[in-house]
C-alpha cells in the first residue's frame, strides 16, 4: 500500500509531465515539414557568437531528420522538460507538505523509514522512466506520418541516457526534500543549480565535455561515438549516493 500512497502523491505531477512531453514529442515531429521549408532562408541570417554558433549548428543538424530530432528533442525540448519533471517528482516525501500531510500517521505504521523512502524513490524513478521512454518512442511511431523515419534503437538509447544521467536532478531534489520541509526550496535550489550548469556550457566551453546535459542528450553517441559510459556511470553513482544520503538523513531525524 505504500506504493499506492506514493502513486497518489505523485500521480498528477507524473500525468501532467507525460501529457506535456507527449504533446511536445508530437509537436517536434509535425513541425519538421514546416522547418524544412524554411531551411533555404537560413544562409541569409547573420549569426555570430556562441549562441549564433549554436543556432547555425541546429540549422545544419536540421537538414537531416535524425539530426533535427536529436537537436530539437533530445538536446532541447525533452531535456529541459524532463529535467523539470525529474525535479518536481523528486520533491516531497516524508517531511514535506507536498506529500499531503500525515507524517506522524505514516511514522506510526509498522514500516521502517528506509522502506518508506525506498518506495517513494522507486515510484518516482519508475515514473521518470516512463517519462523518458514513452514520449521518445512516439518519434519512431509518428515519423512515417510525415514521410520520415527515426530508429527505435536511437530513441531507446537516448531515452536511457536521459534517464540514467538526469536521475541526478531527481536524487538531488529527493535529498533536499529530506532537509527542508517546505515544498519550494528543494525544487528552486535544484533548478537554480541546473540553470547555472546550463549557463556554464557557453561561458566555459572547455568544461562542456564534462557537462551532465551532454551525457543526458548522449551527444557522443549521436555524433558517432559510443555510449558515454563514464558519464553514465558517474551520474548513476552520484544519484545512488544522494539517495543513500537521503535515507541516512531521515533515519537520524527526530519528528
Amino acid at each position: 500500500m505504500l506504493w499506492y500512497k506514493s502513486w497518489e502523491e505523485t500521480r498528477w505531477r507524473f500525468l501532467i509531465g507525460l501529457v506535456v512531453l507527449m504533446c511536445s514529442a508530437v509537436g517536434t515531429v509535425v513541425a519538421y515539414p514546416q522547418l524544412v521549408k524554411l531551411l533555404p532562408l537560413a544562409p541569409r541570417l547573420d549569426l555570430s557568437g556562441e549562441i549564433g554558433r549554436r543556432v547555425t549548428e541546429a540549422i545544419e543538424l536540421a537538414r537531416e531528420y535524425r539530426g533535427y530530432v536529436w537537436s530539437q528533442w533530445f538536446r532541447q525540448n525533452m531535456m529541459q522538460m524532463w529535467a523539470l519533471f525529474a525535479v518536481l517528482l523528486g520533491t516531497g516525501g516524508l517531511l514535506s507538505q507536498a506529500s499531503g500531510g500525515g507524517t506522524l500517521f505514516t511514522l506510526s505504521l509498522p514500516a521502517t523509514r528506509n522502506r518508506l523512502l525506498g518506495v517513494r524513490a522507486a515510484t518516482g524513478l519508475a515514473e521518470l522512466l516512463v517519462l523518458a521512454f514513452i514520449p521518445s518512442l512516439l518519434l519512431p511511431v509518428l515519423s512515417p506520418a510525415i514521410g520520415q523515419a527515426y530508429g527505435i534503437g536511437d530513441a531507446l538509447i537516448h531515452s536511457a541516457c536521459m534517464f540514467l544521467a538526469g536521475a541526478v536532478f531527481f536524487s538531488l531534489a529527493f535529498l533536499l526534500s529530506t532537509v527542508f520541509s517546505d515544498i519550494w526550496r528543494p525544487p528552486l535550489i535544484v533548478l537554480c543549480g541546473a540553470a547555472v550548469l546550463a549557463l556554464c556550457e557557453p561561458v566555459l566551453p572547455g568544461l562542456s565535455r564534462y557537462s551532465l546535459f551532454r551525457v543526458m542528450s548522449a551527444e557522443v553517441y549521436f555524433r558517432g561515438g559510443g555510449l558515454p559510459w563514464l558519464g553514465l556511470f558517474a551520474s548513476a553513482a552520484v544519484s545512488v549516493a544522494m539517495l543513500y544520503a537521503a535515507t541516512r538523513n531521515i533515519a537520524r531525524q527526530d519528528f
Binding site: 500531510g101 506522524l104 500517521f105 505504521l109 509498522p110
Partner: protein, 300 residues
C-alpha cells in the same frame, strides 16, 4: 497478588533537542489493562514522550520499553507499532485520500485488522466513506483517526490529546466511544491531555508530567484517597509549624487559617496539628484539578 506487568515503562528517560531538554529523567509505568491519563501543561513533554515510545524520536539517554521491547531498536519498534494504535495531536491524515481509501491503506499494515469494528465505527461515527480527508471537519477527522487506531486489533492505544479542538458534544462522543471500546476489548490506553476533566472521567491511572519529569504517578482512586486538604483554624494568627509527617505537599497561612495539602492521607498531620491547639480542624478531599494545579505549582 502479582502486579500487572507494565506495558509501557521508562527509566530515567531523557530527550534533548539541541539545547532544550524536553524530557528530564522520566520514570513511568503503565500497567497492562489500565487507562492511563498523561497529564501535563503545554510543553511539559507529553508529546515528546509519546514520540519516543513510537520510535519517532530517539531518546538521548535512559530507557523506554513498550511490551518489554526497547523503543530504540528498529525491529522492536516495528513490533511495537504493529501492536499499537495511535492518534496524533494534529489528527493529520492524508488529505488527498478518501475516508475509504484511508481505511484500506491502513488495513494493509495490520493483519489483525477488525472488519467488524470498522463497520461498527463507520456507522456510529457517521463517516462519509467517499469524501476526501481534506474535506472533513476536525471532528470527523478525529473520529476517522480514532477508527484507524481502534480497528488495528491493537493491544495498546496511545492517544495524544485525542479531543483537542473538539466541541464539548464531540468530545463526549469521542470519550464515550473510547470507554465503550476499552470495556469490550482487552487493551491498555495511554492518553495525553491537559483536559483534567476528561482524565477524571475515563482514566483509572494518572501520570502528571511537569518539565519533563513525572511528578505524580498512581491509580486515580489511590490519589483521590490519599490527597487531603487539612484546614486548621486558630484563635489568633496561624503558627508556622514544620510538619514532619510524610506527604506534606504544601503549607500555606492566611490570617487565622493554616492549610496543609497532603499526598499521604491526613492522619500523621492531624496528630501533629492537634498539638498546635487549633479551634477547628477540617479534612476535605481534593479534586484532580486541584491536585494537578498544586503538584505543578509545588514543582515550580
Amino acid at each position: 497478588m502479582v502486579a500487572d506487568p507494565s506495558i509501557v515503562e521508562t527509566t530515567e528517560l531523557r530527550k534533548s533537542y539541541d539545547d532544550v531538554e524536553a524530557i528530564r529523567g522520566l520514570n513511568l509505568q503503565v500497567p497492562a489493562g489500565s487507562i492511563c491519563g498523561f497529564l501535563g501543561r503545554n510543553g511539559a513533554g507529553k508529546t515528546t514522550t509519546i514520540k519516543v515510545l513510537l520510535g519517532m524520536a530517539r531518546p538521548t539517554s535512559g530507557q523506554a520499553r513498550v511490551f518489554g521491547l526497547a523503543v530504540d531498536a528498529q525491529q522492536a519498534s516495528l513490533d511495537i507499532r504493529r501492536r499499537t494504535g495511535f492518534v496524533s495531536d494534529d489528527k493529520d491524515l492524508y488529505g488527498y485520500m478518501t475516508v475509504e481509501g484511508m481505511i484500506r491503506f491502513t488495513t494493509a499494515f495490520f493483519p489483525r485488522w477488525r472488519g467488524d469494528l470498522e463497520r461498527r465505527y463507520l456507522r456510529a461515527f457517521e463517516l462519509p466513506v467517499g469524501r476526501k480527508v481534506k474535506a472533513l471537519s476536525r471532528g470527523m477527522r478525529t473520529k476517522l483517526a480514532l477508527l484507524l487506531a481502534l480497528c488495528r486489533g491493537a493491544e495498546l492505544l496511545i492517544l495524544d490529546e485525542p479531543t483537542s479542538g473538539l466541541d464539548p458534544a464531540m468530545t463526549e462522543e469521542v470519550l464515550q466511544a473510547l470507554v465503550t471500546h476499552v470495556a469490550s476489548e482487552e487493551m491498555t490506553v495511554f492518553f495525553s491531555s491537559h483536559q483534567i476533566a476528561e482524565v477524571d472521567q475515563i482514566a483509572d491511572r494518572v501520570v502528571i508530567i511537569h518539565r519533563g519529569q513525572a511528578v505524580l504517578t498512581g491509580s486515580l482512586d489511590d490519589i483521590r484517597q490519599n490527597f487531603r486538604r487539612i484546614q486548621l483554624v486558630f484563635d489568633g494568627d496561624a503558627p508556622e509549624p514544620a510538619f514532619r509527617a510524610p506527604g506534606v505537599k504544601r503549607v500555606w497561612r492566611k490570617g487565622r487559617v493554616l492549610t496543609v495539602l497532603s499526598s499521604e492521607g491526613a492522619d500523621g498531620i492531624l496528630d501533629e496539628a492537634r498539638a498546635l491547639s487549633p479551634v477547628s480542624v477540617d479534612v476535605v478531599p481534593v479534586t484532580l484539578k486541584e491536585i494537578f494545579l498544586e503538584t505543578v505549582a509545588t514543582e515550580d
